[in-house]
Every structure is written in structure tokens, then in C-alpha cells.
């Protein structure tokens, strides 16, 4: 059951550009409450995976939850449009069984057999194209892997063991405090250290890959954070592919997210309102009052705030957020990734991939085959040369065609930079951010708890990290309410 969200864009030759795409993640009706008088146990702001997990865990444990979401759909920065029965992933896409929080849910919802692999090298041109200074070289994917591996190993080899000594526990990243100084480096700083050792192809491939990860610029992105990704991926390029860009849901992310929603709804403990952006959060010490932009007020004993880092400061908190949280939100993260799906009639491109580190879409690959037999290409750009496809479709198609000759029938995308509820894609920080602000961002603020993949401990930036944080937020609120109620019961005696 798909219906149109106001989010996302679709362009076709016949119909041109349209705002809004169909998704199974749009919830109908858009609200199930008629009054705002009730004082809920918890108000959860947001409907991405952190919020969905928190809502699911809280409602299952018997708490009365009110969920408020600015958009018309669930999923936050991970959702799939569904066009002609085919899911295009508008944001977060890939998952792996080594990502503990997301896989626990995939297992629990019995979706282990719902995965498919983005890459298909079984037919077609089976080719990787790398563009160095205007000249494109074509090679096979084994050669691609060899260049990538060689370049990445040079990039991360800060300890003679490819990061294993400096960051031995990816889920306890400063276990070895020797990791800390690496957060003083940007990617550009690190590249300067190893520049002499890289071939021109290696440099371009490396640049393409790390900008794919960060959606930022080499001059600003934290080298430490990339090292953390690398550690999470098992300290190998093969691991990076396995974890970052290989396995996706056959039915799209929204087919996964809807399970959390349905379970929460089935408890009869979930009240909700979509299309409800909030403006202020007031905590009087006993309860939290949340005001929406149309002036409605909602009350709850506790709040779980899953508002992304880059928009946290658009909400006024009373009492104000800590200086640390305010500073962190002002600085924000750097990921202004552009992700564009192209449906192309060139079937041979199913097994194609490319890096052109000077293109506005610097990393592209065959990602699927649509029901009509066309090839689905996905392409990523970073903030080095920012592209907003809806503002110039002709330029966008030209950027794609400059990568390889293709006949584009459809484009699908979400402009995360121009999205006022995200102001960017997945979290990727500048230097001296994570090691300075993460703990502060995780801290509660009176009756308000914070949960977002943007400050997760493990797979920060990932769906896994969002579920990690939603789990933590729900548990903290459950414990807190249980304690305060025990105290209240005691004072009655």
C-alpha cells in the first residue's frame, strides 16, 4: 500500500519533474488523536529508526507514547520510494548481519531472506571506470578492488597494523587513547602525509571513496571518523564493501521500518501525529510541554528527542540546552551528500561502476534492475562540488552522462541539504567533533532524553546506530519513570 509523500523528487522524460513520490512509509490516517489534553508517559519527537525503536520499546513495555513527526512518513533519513513496484532508496540503504542492532531487528522481524545484493557482475560490461585528470581508464572489478585496497591501506595505516592498534575496539573507540590525536586531522591532512606514496589512480579512487563516506570535503572531514568506519568494517576494504554498500532490502527500507511501526501500534499504546513540526520544548521539572508550529501543545512526563544534530537548534528548549549541546548543534555535521537514482535503458550498465573525483557525482554503480528490465544506477556526490538535482535536471543528466554514456528514463532523489528537517544526510563530522561532543550529545537534559544515530557509540551515522540509540533512549526513560514512580509510591506511604 503506497501513497504519495510530499518528500522526494521524480523526473521522467515524459512527465518532467514532480515533487513527492509514492512510498509504503506514509502512515494513514496521519493522526490518531483528537485532543491534546492527555499527559502521556513519553513524547517522542521524530519517526526515523531511533524514534521508531524507542516508540516500539516504550509501547511494548506498557508506556503511553505520543509520537510527533514533522513529515508525512516514517523513516527519517532512511526511506524508500516505490515507483512501479520498485524501491528506490532515498537515504540510508545498506545493512549487514555484522551490524548488531539492525540485524537483531531483521532477525526478530524474520526478514533475513529479504536481502539482495546491489552489485551484479554476472552480465553486461563488467567494468569500473576511473577518471584521472579528464582521462577515463576502464578496468575490471578485481582491478578496481586492488587499487582501492592499496590506497585505503596506505590511508589508514597509522600504526603498521592498519588501525588495529590505535582503534582496537570499534565499539569502544577510544579504548586506546592514542586514537584521540587523529581527530585533529582532516582527510586532507592525512592525505598530505601519504601523498607521495599514492599513484594518481589510487589518489582519485581514495578521494572518491572517502567522499562517498563523508559527503563532505577533504579539507573539513575528520580523519578519525573515517578511521572509526574502517574499524567498524573490520579494518579491510573488503569489509567496507560488505558493510557499507552491498546488502539492501528487496522491498526497500520502508518495508523494514513499517514493522517497528506496526508493532508499536498493535500495543494500543501509541498515539501519533504526522505533519507536526515542533517549535518549543518546555520542561517544568515535572513534565515536558511540546509546542507545534501550529500552536498545539502536547504534554508528557518524559521526552525522547530524535531531532537530527543539524536541526536541533531550530527548536527552542526551556530551560536551554547545555552550552555543549548548543555548540555541537551550531557546528553541526558536514554531510551534504547528493544521492541520485537513474533508471537507464542500458542493460549492460548493471555491472558498471565509476569514480570521477572531480565530478559532481563522484561515485556511481549499478544498483538493480527495474521491473521493466532497465538498469538502476545510483550515484553519489559530496560537498566538494555540491549538486541539487531538482534545480537543474539538464545539468544533472549531463553529469551522469559524463560518467558513462547512458539513456536516462527516470531520476529519483531526495535533496537532503534542502530538507529543513535534516539539513544534511547521514552524520559525518569535522575534526574535533566526535571526541569533544559525543558524550555531551548523549546526555539527558532534565526530562528530555536524546537519541540519534548522529551520536551513537557504534555504527554512528548508520541505521544500526539509530536503533542503538532508540534502544538506549527507551531503556533510560523506562528506568527513569520506574524509579520516579517508585519514589512517588514511597512518598505516598
Amino acid at each position: 500500500m503506497t501513497s504519495n509523500s510530499t518528500d522526494g523528487f521524480e523526473w521522467t522524460k515524459e512527465e518532467g519533474l514532480r515533487k513527492g513520490v509514492p512510498t509504503i512509509g506514509k502512515i494513514k490516517p496521519a493522526t490518531n488523536i483528537s485532543s491534546t489534553n492527555h499527559v502521556f508517559d513519553v513524547v517522542i519527537v521524530g519517526a526515523g529508526y531511533a524514534a521508531l525503536t524507542a516508540a516500539r520499546d516504550c509501547t511494548v513495555s506498557g508506556l503511553k507514547v505520543l509520537l510527533l513527526e514533522a513529515r508525512d512518513r516514517i523513516g527519517g533519513r532512511s526511506w524508500s520510494s516505490n515507483i512501479g513496484g520498485y524501491p528506490f532508496e532515498m537515504g540510508g540503504t545498506w545493512v549487514n548481519w555484522g551490524q548488531p542492532h539492525v540485524w537483531r531487528e531483521i532477525s526478530r522481524y524474520n526478514m533475513r531472506k529479504e536481502l539482495e545484493i546491489s552489485q551484479d557482475y554476472s552480465h553486461g560490461i563488467n567494468q569500473f571506470s576511473v577518471n584521472v585528470a579528464g582521462k577515463t581508464s576502464d578496468m575490471n572489478h578485481d582491478e578496481e578492488d586492488a587499487i582501492m585496497e592499496s590506497a585505503l591501506k596506505k590511508f589508514v595505516n597509522i600504526d603498521g597494523q592498519y588501525g588495529r592498534l590505535i582503534m582496537p575496539y570499534p565499539h569502544d573507540e577510544i579504548h586506546n587513547p592514542a586514537a584521540l590525536p587523529f581527530d585533529k586531522l582532516t582527510a586532507a591532512d592525512r592525505l598530505a602525509q601519504i601523498g607521495d606514496t599514492l599513484s594518481a589512480q589510487e589518489y582519485v579512487c581514495l578521494k572518491g571513496f572517502i567522499l562517498l563516506c563523508s559527503g563532505a570535503t577533504l579539507d573539513t572531514m575528520s580523519f578519525y571518523e573515517f578511521l572509526h568506519w574502517w574499524a567498524l568494517c573490520g579494518y579491510t576494504y573488503g569489509g567496507c564493501i560488505e558493510y557499507l554498500i552491498k546488502y539492501k532490502f528487496r522491498g526497500g527500507q520502508s518495508s523494514f521500518a513499517i514493522n517497528f511501526w506496526n508493532e508499536a501500534i498493535s500495543t494500543n499504546n501509541l498515539s501519533y501525529t504526522f505533519n507536526c513540526p515542533i517549535t518549543t520544548v518546555e520542561d517544568d521539572g515535572n513534565k515536558v510541554v511540546v509546542t507545534s508550529d501550529d500552536g498545539r501543545q502536547f504534554k508528557a512526563a518524559r521526552m525522547i528527542c530524535t531531532i537530527p544534530l543539524n536541526v536541533l537548534n531550530t527548536v527552542r528548549f526551556s530551560p536551554p540546552l547545555s552550552i555543549g549541546k548548543q555548540r555541537a548543534a551550531n557546528i553541526g555535521h558536514l554531510n551534504q551528500c547528493t544521492k541520485v537514482h537513474a533508471e537507464v535503458s542500458n542493460r549492460d550498465l548493471r555491472s558498471w561502476s565509476a569514480i570521477d573525483a572531480s565530478s559532481k557525482l563522484l561515485y556511481a554503480l549499478g544498483d538493480g534492475t527495474t521491473p521493466s528490465g532497465n538498469t538502476h544506477i545510483v550515484a553519489f556526490g559530496a560537498n566538494e562540488t555540491h549538486l541539487e538535482p531538482e534545480k537543474d535536471i539538464a545539468a544533472t543528466t549531463q553529469v551522469l552522462k559524463d560518467l558513462v554514456d547512458m539513456d536516462i528514463e527516470r531520476l529519483v532523489f531526495h535533496n537532503w541539504s534542502d530538507d529543513k528537517y535534516a539539513k544534511g544526510a547521514w552524520f559525518f563530522p569535522g575534526k574535533e567533533f566526535v571526541t569533544v561532543f559525543s558524550e555531551e550529545l548523549r546526555a539527558r537534559h532534565g526530562n528530555v532524553f536524546f537519541a540519534s544515530s548522529d551520536w551513537a557509540v557504534g555504527w554512528r551515522s548508520f541505521i544500526d546506530g539509530a536503533i542503538e540509540e532508540g534502544t538506549r533512549g527507551a531503556l533510560d526513560v523506562m528506568k527513569d519513570l520506574s524509579n520516579s514512580r517508585s519514589r512517588r509510591d514511597l512518598t505516598k506511604l
Copy 2:
């Protein structure tokens, strides 16, 4: 707070052999119910990780749970004794962040920083000893890894890609049906196929390693199941070490298990009785009546049975279990591993490891340093040459000393084979078991649901698999009760 379980053995030079060791996993009081009249929502039989997870999830969701456990402690086949403040792991030990279910819990209980590494090659003799036909060769651990890797790659390379083609999804193991025929092979069958390619050292190392995994015999253990372990471990020997035998809880397994227990208890929805072996389970279609060996009867709407495969047939079910379940339980699994801890005064042995595939303890390694500065050695035997340490301590110490010269001050162990509530260690099957019986073992039987790592989908045999199964069992029961209550409500209308 430790107290003595009746489980486990400790031997010291001064005190000789004693049955029962201290653990933080013994729950006091041993029961919190005074009558058996109540009809619970769920009765959970067992207190290992499957049962603890199910009890935690069910109680948190508001169900009234009765947990019945035959032993005096939680943890089932994973528990730690605590002797002089030092945890000796009596069963399941190692965990990893790539094991999704267990890591989700480690993250949720904020225990990410509670891990330590078994191996410590920073001082001492730093040596691996391999015994081939009575002659011991000593080498460094890099040489050990090289032999192991070479041998294992030959063993699993059934597709030119070290198993990746035949079993591409470790959590969907027959995704490629071409995996199925490999369950017709025992390890010995597979060894016969590659025997000509192995050096004598490679053969011994390989034999030691696969018997370490199975606790069985080469002639009987399933090659397919080993392949599944290999796939779970990322298709590399390095992955095997990372996942199988590296990271353990500084405070012991029981320090982890107690969190599940405490959370369940905190809901006020958990009733329980330890020291309560059960004899019969009768399902009248509306409720389940469980009878204990002292004649008490307990009633619940549903049951989650976590009784291990090898003892499932010691309980009488009415109506009887399906033929498939009965057959599976009669066949059972093959793991009769002997695990012995030795506290030795030889500090140099902290960095020692050994394989002697003809020894009754065929795989041994330095596993820690005790508070008194002694080295803690752990050694494993398999059913090829079965050892029951408590029956002949002198012989056991001699087996250890034959591996390397050591001065033994203490032995600590649990005889899993002689344990009537386990009849074996972690699950490891013979050929044509998993591919024939697993789904059947997961199936519900009327109002009785089954949850055990012995038939998990993913990390079967592991703590992770137990948590996977406890999660599934709880969710299935919650859904089932919710459905039947909705139906009941409807019929009232």
C-alpha cells in the same frame, strides 16, 4: 555477591577435589512463589540465555511469567565461577560485536567496556607448540596463524571462493541450495578429499581446530555445520579467532546474564523457582500444566521450553512431541567437549598455546592472569578421546603436563557430559541433522514454544543464538496471546 552452586568442580593441591564452585549466577532466594495455584501467562523452562531473554522480553511487555529452572543458578551452558575474585568460564565464553543478538544486549546493558582479550602475547614464551606423532615443534604465533590459515582454507575451499559461493549468507544458510549436499559429509569425509594437500602439521592443526569447534569426532561431525561456522566468521581464519576465542567479559559470563535477570525481576512480573527439574508437560489446548519431579504442578497459558536438545526427551509431553522433534532429540548433538581451567605458577605460559590432536586435551592456550599473578590456562578436549577430569585428577594433570611443563595449583571445570540437564556442551551436530531437523525444532507444539541456541538460525550453538531464540520465543508468545485475547474479546461482543 557470590555463593556456591552445586555445579562445577574445583581441585587444589591443598584441598583436593570439591564439587560446587562459587558464582554470582546463583539466585537467592531460590524461589519467590509460595503457591502454585496461579495461572501464569507464560511458563518458561530453563534459565540459560534463551530463557533469560524470553523472560526479560515477556515480563517487560507486561506478561506474568513463571520461570522454572532445574539448577540453582542462571546461565545454563554459559556461566562463570568466581574464585578469589577471578572468573573461570565454565561453558560459553567468547563474544564479539559482529554477533548481533549478544552485542545488542551488551550495548543495551552498557557493557561495551567490560571486555578483555584472552590472548596476551606481550610477554613470556610467546610460543605455539604443535605435536605431530609424538614430536613437538615450537614456533611463534605468526607461524601458527600461517599453518592454520593454510589448512583451513584447503578444508573449506569447496567452490574456489572458500565457501562464499556455496554459503553466501551465513544467516540464511541454504540461500544457495548447493550448500545442502555438504551436509552429507562428515569432517572425515572432507579430510579424505583434501588429505593429499595437507602437511602433517597442517593436518594436526586442522584436526585440533575443528575438534575444538565440535567437541565431537572427525568421523561423526557435520562438515556442513563447520562450513556454517566458517561463514559466520567471515570466511577467514582471522575471523574465526576474532569471533570464537578472543573477547570475553572481564567479570565473567554471569556478570552479563545477571542483567537480564535483574531487568526481568524489576518488572514485578517474574515469578520463579530454581532447583525445580520438570518431568511432564501437558497441554489441554487451553493451558499448559508443567509437573516438577517433586510433584508440584504449574499452570500457564503458554510455555517457552528452552530445554537443550540432548535432554528434551527426558521430559514427557502430552500430546507427544512431533515425530520429527522426537527423532531429532533421540539423535541429539555430538558435542562432548571437556573444558578444563588450570591455574599454573608458570607466568611465561601466559603467551603459550598448543595443539596436540592425539591428546585428551587437544587445544590449550593462556587465557588470563589470576589475582595472585598465576597464569590461567584453558584446555579443550573432544569426544575423540573423552576425558572426565573429576574421575581422575592425576591423569588430567598429566595430560596437561604432557602439553607443556606446568606447575598446576588449581583446576576448575564443569563436566557437561555428565550433567543431566545438558548431556553435552554447545550444540554440534552430525551430518544430515541441521538441514533435516532445524525448522522442525523451531516449530511450536500447540501452546508450547521452543527456544534454544541448539536450533538457532544464525549463531547456532552460541550465546548469540540463544538470545536470538529467546527473542523469537518471546515475540511469538506475545503475538499469540495478543491474538487469542483479541479473539476472546471479540467473542464476548
